[in-house]
Amino acid sequence: MIRHVILRIVAKTLIPCILLFAFYVQFHGDFGPGGGFQAGVIFAAGIILFALMFGLPAARRVCSPRALEILISLGVLLYGGVGLASIFKGGNFLDYSVLAHDAVHGQHIGIFLVELGVGLTVTAVMIKLFFLFAGRKHIL
């Protein structure tokens, strides 16, 4: 696909926008519609578009399979870690209110971190799925 000028130019301009939009959805998730899921999928879509344009090997250089595996795990660990942290702070599992000096800030931090974990895992899972399917020798 890299030889098609129009596709290449459009993709090159679109991919940064898509990634940026993903970050907007991720970090705006505390205040309005959005959150880790949607952001993760959008971010992964950017990478997948990149892979479609410039080929799997190039995309694999951007995010190696092992790195993806680690990201998936880290996302879940971050999520669970917030839960354990709130126990440490004297609350129940995943009780964000105790994470900061007052409940509102605590909820804020908690949701932010949890959504970050979700976003990490979803992004990595989606990219990994694409790599695994696209990387098979004989696809249907």
Binding site: N92, F93, I111
Partner: protein, 533 residues
Amino acid sequence: MSLFAQLASLTVQAGNGAHHSDAQHAAQHAAQHAAQQAVNWSEHLPALQIALPLLAAPLCVLLRRARLAWGLAMLVSAGALAISLTLLGRVLALGEGGAISYHLGGWQPPWGIEYRIDALNAFVLVIVTGISTVVMAATPRSLESELPRERHYLYYAAYLLCMTGLAGITITGDAFNIFVFLEISSLSAYALISMGRTRRAVTSAYQYLVMGTIGGTFLLLGIGLLYMVTGTLNIADLSERLALVGANRTVLVALACIVAGVSIKLALFPLHVWLPNAYTYAPAVVTAFLAATATKVAYYVLVRFVFSVFGTPLAFDELHLDALLLPLAILAMFGASLVAIYQADVKRMLAWSSVAQIGYMVLGLALANESGLTGGLVHLFNHALMKSGLFLVMACFALRLGSTRLEDLAGVGHRMPLTFGAFVLGGLSLIGVPMTAGFVSKWYLVRGALEAGMWPLAAAILLSSLLAVAYIWRVVEVAWFREPATGDLRRAPLSILVPAWILLLGTLYFGLHTSFTVGTASAAARLLLGGTP
């Protein structure tokens, strides 16, 4: 392939999290917490029961080395067992009808997700974590011959997620949470099954996936209808509000959807087609784990919904659930046992026998009296022990003989006496010979049938046990009285043999000392039958 499920399940869990955080985003959080104080970890055991295996799964992926991942999984599994035993002790100490309630995230039920542990699910938790620990001990040796070593860490991650899911279904007091955990456990179970050696493993996993997803979606549908009627998802709250609503058509459709959905997961007779294939072609240890836990937890879900949520009046007087479940249970007992007799593969034979045993459990449910339900619940425990033990014996055969086909077992009783001895012990328990655990559960089932005034049913239980004699005897005959093949056989590795013996000696122990199983199960049965309005 394992990776897929792992990814999948991780995503699911993340979804669960979002459900939790977003759902109550709008709600007011009233409770202000006191300043820092020493953390009392024992208060948080219900959350840790789920959180530990859940967090250990990604750690396994990070560790990557098969040995390390196994060590962690073993440790966490044993830890989960310790937690569930503690919880059971605590619940029983609370006395009749006592329950531990844990509010996730500090949100009060019925708005927040509640983990609610009473005698029934504490009992099931012990089974899930206990079997998981024992099977985990046998895993590395058995898995070596079935899966390349560099993919073992993914196996352990999927295994831990499956255990998380099963324990989660059991511990949670939130109907939608049951669905989420059900899918976590199912997705990882599909992946575990697909790791079998032959290509049939993948087709069986696919078949199970299609049926399992239909089952799960039906459950979701039923829960949705309940939510529509009552506006709540908390199980305790649901039962209160349903009692006020009574039997309108939506409630009945919800009950039908839930029973149909769970029956697929449970492999109740006409919906069992996924089970024999899945159990036969899965890796031996996976079968040992799933046979003892997955269907048992599904049985728990059925019991929980029928008795705790809908209650006996609605389920039995209005919808006549017994008129449906009784015949199906009897068909399972006879039909599946008959099919088991004609199997050429012993592992497959045991899988069919599982379908039959599920029939006994459902029979106990359908009787809906204390003895019957006690019998069903005790059988849940006993059957988990004996089937898991028997499938571990199959793991030994698969490792040493390379096959579990009946003709290959010729003379194996002489060549591997210790291993085959374990098989005979498990077989006796499966038949229900006095002094074994199988006898205890059948005794209570028979009593339940007689109390319900259905003596032909009692006869049916005894008759179907004779069919079990037939299929066990076939194996014993081949293994002891056929000429063995030539060549030396090495003794089965101790790391599999010892767990198998532990489980099967357990059936002997619980056949003689029934106070733990029957005591807990009858407490649970009284809770279920008496707790309904």
